[in-house]
């Protein structure tokens, strides 16, 4: 591990893997035109030399960023998580369990719906599992 830059009181220290180099854009701030010297603390010896970044690399990074943003936007607008499920207005045929009768899921739900629709309730007490024809 190489310490690239460190403040005197060690509040800001950047650590890089051994043998790696650090690239800093020219516009951000080096004094030199083609390379920037990063001042290392006195205890670590001579400063490291950072090689310049080719101009084409900026274009590649910008294109990758744009692609990531486009993908994120697409995922957000097409994710099923954000779609509201349709609220059923009546029981579907799948709740009929092989009969012609619409069954709700529980007796309590039947009571609740009957109160709201001025209907009576019908309850079927069975031996076995009514929703599995093999066990009814």
């Amino acid at each position: 591990m190489t310490v690239v830059s460190s403040h005197d009181n060690d509040e800001l220290t950047l650590y890089c893997p051994q043998g790696s180099t650090l690239s800093v854009p020219k516009a951000i701030g080096g004094q030199h035109r083609d390379e920037r010297r990063v001042q290392s603390p006195r205890s670590l010896g001579p400063p490291l030399v950072v090689p310049p970044i080719p101009p084409r690399s900026y274009l590649r990074i910008a294109l990758i960023c744009v692609a990531v943003l486009v993908l994120a936007f697409w995922a957000q607008n097409n994710s099923p998580v954000f779609r509201e499920a349709p609220i059923p207005t009546s029981c579907s045929t799948s709740n009929r369990l092989g009969t012609r009768v619409d069954f709700v899921s529980t007796p309590m739900e039947a009571d609740r719906q009957a109160r709201g629709s001025a209907k009576l309730t019908f309850f079927l007490h069975v031996a076995g599992d009514f929703d599995d024809s093999a066990f009814t």
Partner: protein, 181 residues
């Protein structure tokens, strides 16, 4: 229950009732043959008061007739302003007494009202066991002091249908012998 597969029954039930089902018993499958098991159909108010019930499977024609009787009787009670819980219960008791008298020649008086527990013991008697199921149902609903589902379902399933209320799953004897679980 084949009656529930009938179009007219389905249309009528869906128009006048909200339906649900519940497992209260079990049966045994032995060598691919079903042993035991039965069905009871309850027609109730939304607050759980049983107006009528059918013990065991019936034809679509009988089912439709009974469902219509429930709806028309309840509408008649509403017409007479008998919509309070006690009022409606008394009206329904009277309707079951009428059917007992008309269809079975049996007279049940108000003085013979009994708790569900006493009625369970009564219906277990040999003289009552010989009666048709629906006659016993009318006796139960004409004489019971309480008509909530929770008070009656065990009497119906065990006392009238001679099944056992059980939380056990369906038992497959053949499956166990074949080593499947």
């Amino acid at each position: 229950m084949n009656a529930l597969s009938n179009d007219k029954v389905g249309d009528y039930l869906n128009a006048h009732f909200v339906s649900a089902f519940q497992k209260v018993g079990t049966f045994r499958i032995s060598n691919g043959q079903k042993q035991g098991g039965n069905v009871a159909s309850y027609f109730c108010t939304p607050d759980g008061q049983v107006l009528h019930l059918l013990a065991g499977p019936v034809t679509a024609e009988v089912f439709l007739r009974e469902a219509r009787w429930v709806v028309e009787t309840q509408k008649l009670a509403a017409l007479e302003g008998r919509q309070g819980r006690a009022d409606l219960q008394a009206f329904i008791r009277h309707a079951h007494r009428e059917r007992l008298r008309h269809e079975y020649g049996r007279t049940e008086q108000d003085a013979q009202l009994a708790s569900p527990g006493d009625l369970a013991a009564l219906l277990a008697g040999l003289s009552y066991q010989r009666l048709p199921r629906q006659e016993r149902v009318h006796i139960l609903l004409a004489r019971s002091l309480r008509t909530e589902m929770g008070d009656l379902y065990r009497i119906v399933f065990e006392g009238i249908l001679a099944e056992s209320v059980s939380t056990l799953p369906v038992a497959e004897e053949g499956a166990h012998r074949a080593g499947r679980h």
